[in-house]
């Protein structure tokens, strides 16, 4: 891998119109996304990778809910 000839990438949290967030590296400052694996009907129940994002959100909610209870 040659250094210095590749574009710079930033880790961006992309928010789809459906509200799901996807963390990706990209060459752009911001990205507009109207449809993703979380809201596309074909992906429903397919266990798409979008579920990672969901899970993260749920884990955080879970942590918040039970914070200090144990």
């Amino acid at each position: 891998m040659k250094k210095g000839i590749h574009p710079e990438m930033k880790l961006l949290t992309v928010r789809c119109a459906c509200g799901a967030e996807h963390k990706i590296w990209t060459t752009k400052e911001q990205l507009k996304v109207d449809v993703c694996s979380n809201c596309h009907p074909l992906y429903k129940g397919s266990g798409g990778a979008g579920l990672i994002v969901d899970t993260e959100g749920r884990v955080q909610k879970f942590k918040k809910r039970y914070e200090g209870k144990y």
Binding site: E8, M9, K23, W25, K28, V35, C36, G48, A49
Partner: protein
Amino acid sequence: MTYEFIPLKEKYQKEVVPALMKEFGYTNVHEVPKLVKVVVNMGIGEGSRNKETAEIHAKELTAIAGQKALITKAKKSISNFKIRKGMTIGAKVTLRGPRMYNFVYKLINLVLPKVRDFRGLNPNSFDGKGNYNFGLTEQLVFPEISPDQTKRIQGMDIVIVTTAKRDEESRRLLELLGFPFKKQ
């Protein structure tokens, strides 16, 4: 790109590897199929095949891949296709490691859902050796490409190379990573 976070990699390690070990009975983690590289190739059609067009598409490919794309040239002349040796015929990029995982995550979660009338990927487009091929008809499905700045629609072929020996194992690897295949 520093790698404190690599999209999809954790899912592969924590979910896909154990699932594949269970399903196919691998005894060693190193036997479990994994992604090797992703090759993205834009073959520019006859008629608009010139250096400027190729450079524009190479720039687009660089923006979507996060790695400098190369201009491809014909290795030999093919008269039926009006190709002369050395002629510019497209642009290409080969991704490995973190950039590959990032690209595949983006494909699955943001790019394929944007394909017009998407009904799922063809589950039979494997090459018999565990590699998967598919095409996208327009570069506009990538979030990095803005439609107002695009003068020419260009598709691309994508090859996912894996260490799987059989198509069945490769298909399951991709499925578990989240590739949306058409139901067979």
